[in-house]
């Protein structure tokens, strides 16, 4: 187990995955009016499970959990980005990123306290 995994547990990799997912959803939003663009996203639970497994990496986990979004309603130009879906998921992902950050903050505080011997 890598040293950062010992320190931060699941949260280090979770933060990396959250950040990657943020990029994915930003890509979907950027291409909301590109004809023929197919929205992609990851199944976060699956990705996290793959990343935290033995010798699992963030990049490998992303690849395994990647998929195309199934649109609620198809559009004439073949674009599958639905703004409402993307915005909701983006907001949700941002909040969860913050949550992971505060878990990390807690861990860091604990370690700092232990080091200082307070």
């Amino acid at each position: 187990m890598a040293i950062e995994d010992q320190l931060f547990g699941i949260h280090g990799k979770a933060l990396a995955l959250r950040s990657q997912r943020l990029t994915l959803i930003a890509s979907n939003i950027a291409n909301a009016s590109t004809p023929g663009y197919k929205a992609q996203d990851i199944d976060f639970d699956k990705a996290l499970a793959a990343a935290t497994r033995d010798q699992g990496t963030v990049a490998g986990a992303l690849e395994k959990a990647m998929g195309y979004r199934v649109p609620l309603q198809s559009s004439a130009d073949g674009n599958t980005v639905e703004m409402s879906t993307e915005q909701t998921l983006f907001a949700e992902n941002a909040v969860k990123y913050r949550t992971t950050l505060s878990f990390l903050e807690g861990r860091l505080n604990t370690i700092t306290r232990a080091l200082k011997g307070e």
Binding site: L15, L22, T23, L24, A26, S27, I29, A30, N31, A32, S33, T34, P35, Y37, Q40, D41, I42, L62, E63, M66, M83, Q87, F90, A91, A94, Y97, R98, L101, L104, E105, L108, N109, T112
Partner: protein, 134 residues
Amino acid sequence: MEKPMTIFDISGRAMSAQLVRLNATASNMANAGSISGSKESAYRAIRPVFTPVTQGPGVATVTVDRVVTSDTPATKRHDPGHPLADANGDVWEAGVDSSAELVDMVEASRMYQNNVQVLQTAKTLMLETIRLGK
């Protein structure tokens, strides 16, 4: 190896692309109703064509591939009193559908706003991450 694309590249370039679209709409609106003496020289609406720029699975920004002239035909109008009228007394009005342009303008500005929002959220999250452990 190519520099990895950040969320700032993605949303930033998307904003530029939407701005091109907004500019095209402005040109079209400015030329709506302009009169020309022949069918060929009449103004026709221009429209940017977006294409994705992909870097790895799921990571893609957007760019303007080219700007095309739409095939909305110029409207012929009989107006012999017009200084630009041809031998038959006809003039051609620019082939611009104003309502379609207005709809396009609203959509472009909404898309721009969405990208600004994404950028803002990403910036806040990164600043919070920098402050981690302080």
